[in-house]
């Protein structure tokens, strides 16, 4: 049960991703947001070399996730590090909440922002609790109070208090990243800088951490600047996405949906990749796709079936969806071989996006995408031609709407 569940839901990250994408992309695309961080003609040049960042001007919205994405050497990390003065710009100014960062002492500026880095960057000689409490202790919060707050934060990021006594080397990569996020949140900073935080963990854990970050962000509404080289991560997380090109040029800065739908130039189009059309489906709901009834069989019914195996399957379509007693999908039974249970494809939760609907169809051995309700029980199936029709429909509407 557990295994087939995992198989069914793995191919894409969580269950609510595309909804969040679509929902959170909308306000950022509007103009009602306030600026939190501003880059004004920032250039960073290392010695004689070509500039790492060239004449960058951009505004980062308050309370939103802005993702810097691009190939290596495009200046995305350098740009991030100029915000907390880990790197000083050659020319130009950066303001945070209206204040020029170069006028704020570096150490106190850094303490006023959370920072999460690749492979967590935890201090190996401090326990998990003390790691989380680091910035509080630097801000002279009494030890007991700092530890108490640290323990609360472990809970916020989904770690048990028991983990607090361990050293970082005794945690898994995913747990270390959670501690890294907890540490960044400890002093409750309005700005969170995240430098490829999830790139060192495996894809399954990464998807979990992304969902976790989105969940936290719904409650906390921090201004998050997130650096990644993974365009998929960028579109999943970003309210706005800034695509950097080699040489430190900002190629496109727009809502994730727009980057996928309308890349401004060949560089962006190439960078977002071949699957961008498919990924863009994550921004349209699949409400118009009809859900058809499907033949299901519970375990006991299947038992009867194999007992009467000599008899040929009764109808021509043939595929039967095996379900458990709560009507949750277990796998498919093919008309050719009535006894074997084939693992199912990804699940389409009602109300999800066209991307999910299409993936459910494509990944199903029966060519039928299994639709489930919030409780996870089967409500029916979606069919490929109808999903494609809905996709075409969405495109026409967009054309008309623009």
């Amino acid at each position: 049960m557990a295994v087939s569940d995992a198989r069914i839901s793995l191919p894409d990250s969580g269950t609510s991703t595309p909804q969040v994408d679509a929902a959170s992309a909308a306000p950022a695309a509007g103009s009602g947001t306030r600026p939190m961080i501003e880059f004004n003609s920032i250039t960073k040049r290392y010695l004689e070399n070509q500039p790492a960042v060239e004449n960058l001007s951009m505004t980062i919205d308050k309370g939103a996730i802005t993702v810097f994405v691009g190939p290596s050497g495009c200046g995305k990390t350098t740009s991030l590090r100029m915000i907390n003065r880990m790197v000083e710009p050659t020319s130009g100014t950066i303001t945070v909440d209206g204040k020029d960062v170069s006028t704020i002492p570096a150490a106190s500026l850094r303490r006023s922002m959370g920072y999460v880095m690749q492979s967590a960057g935890l201090l190996p000689h401090r326990t998990v609790t003390d790691n989380v409490a680091t910035v509080l202790r630097l801000n002279k919060v009494p030890r007991a109070q700092a530890r108490h707050r640290a323990e609360e934060l472990l809970d916020v990021v989904g770690l048990s208090a028991r983990m607090g006594k361990r050293y970082p080397s005794q945690l898994s990569g995913g747990q270390q990243q959670r501690v890294g996020v907890a540490r960044a949140l400890a002093a409750d900073p309005p700005v969170l800088l995240m430098d490829e935080p999830f790139s060192a963990v495996d894809p399954v854990v990464r998807a979990e951490l992304q969902q976790e970050l989105l969940r936290l962000q719904r409650d906390l509404a921090k201004t998050i600047v997130f650096v990644t080289h993974d365009i998929d991560e960028a579109t999943v997380l970003g309210d706005k996405v800034a695509v950097f090109a080699t040489g430190g040029r900002l190629a496109q800065y727009a809502a994730a949906e727009e980057i996928l739908r309308a890349p401004v130039d060949d560089f962006v189009a190439n960078f977002v990749g071949r699957d961008r059309g498919f990924r863009h489906l994550a921004f349209s709901t699949a409400d118009s796709v009809p859900i058809h009834p499907v033949r299901t069989a519970t375990e006991s019914e299947r038992g009867q079936r194999s007992a009467q195996q000599s008899r040929p399957p009764s109808d021509a379509a043939g595929w039967v969806l095996a379900v458990d007693d709560a009507h949750r999908p277990l796998g498919w039974i093919s008309p050719a071989d009535g006894s074997a249970l084939l693992p199912g494809g990804s699940l389409f939760h009602e109300g999800q996006t066209l991307r999910r609907a299409l993936d459910a169809v494509l990944s199903s051995p029966a060519g039928l995408g299994v639709a489930v309700d919030d409780a996870g029980s089967v409500t029916g199936v979606v069919k490929a031609p109808e999903v494609l029709a809905a996709i075409e429909n969405a495109r026409r509407q967009r054309e008309g709407g623009l």
Binding site: G121, L122, L123, H125, L138, K165, Y167
Partner: protein
């Protein structure tokens, strides 16, 4: 053996002198070598200068140094301070390189993380760089501690009391037992110091102790929280 029993208090006080003359310079040399190494780490020119100075100093014969130092320091030739100052010079010369290696053994990512969190340089050095360099630092300390204990004996040639006095006295009197006891005593002292340093390192690096022992750690924390389950 009978000789040892008869002279036990004498041997013990020589051992005490020996330990004193090797441990005090060791401590002083750490206090000098650590800041020097950090300076060397920050400045390339200084680094070359300090490392060559260290190598050159280490090649000066110890006996020569013991004799020259009183002239420079204005101490009397039989002053224990001569031996100790000489040992500090050797120890710093040796420790400089290993301390530099120790500081450079700290993962730069961790250092960056500390900077990003808002550590000021000096605090970062004391509370992040230094503790994390302890394993490599102690490897260097163990070498210097043994080297110090052996060098202290040379002072006996000048008549400065230590277990080395047992060699010089034994040679003068052609009395092998005394020489052997001097050698064994020195060896024991070196082993004792080494054991002490190993223990100190273990105490200073609790995070390295359970390395890889995830299951053990889990078991421990479980038993903390749910003793009933464990006993059942």
């Amino acid at each position: 053996m009978a000789w040892l029993v008869a002279n036990f208090s004498e041997v013990l006080s020589l051992a005490g002198l020996h330990l004193y003359q090797s441990v005090v310079p060791l401590l002083i040399s750490v206090l000098i070598a650590v800041p020097l190494a950090q300076l060397a780490r920050m400045n390339k020119t200084l680094r070359g200068l300090l490392l060559s100075a260290g190598s050159i100093l280490y090649t000066v014969p110890s006996l020569a140094l013991f004799v020259i130092l009183p002239v420079i320091l204005g101490t009397r030739i039989l002053d224990m301070a001569n031996v100790m100052v000489a040992l500090v010079i050797y120890a710093v010369a040796l420790l400089l390189r290993s301390t530099l290696d120790a500081l450079e053994s700290v993962d730069d990512g961790i250092r960056q993380a500390a900077v990003a969190m808002g550590y000021k340089p000096f605090m970062r050095f004391l509370t992040v760089d230094l503790p994390l360099s302890v394993p490599v630092l102690f490897a260097g300390l163990r070498v210097v501690s043994v080297s110090n204990i052996s060098l202290v004996s040379v002072g006996a040639l000048l008549g400065i009391g230590s277990l080395g006095s047992l060699f010089t006295d034994g040679l003068k009197r052609d009395f092998v037992t005394e020489i052997v006891i001097g050698i064994i005593g020195t060896l024991l002292l070196a082993l004792l110091m080494d054991a002490f340093l190993v223990l100190a390192q273990r105490l200073l690096t609790p995070w390295l102790r359970n390395d890889g022992g995830l299951t053990k750690a889990t078991a421990e924390s479980n038993s903390d929280d749910e003793p009933a389950v464990v006993s059942a």
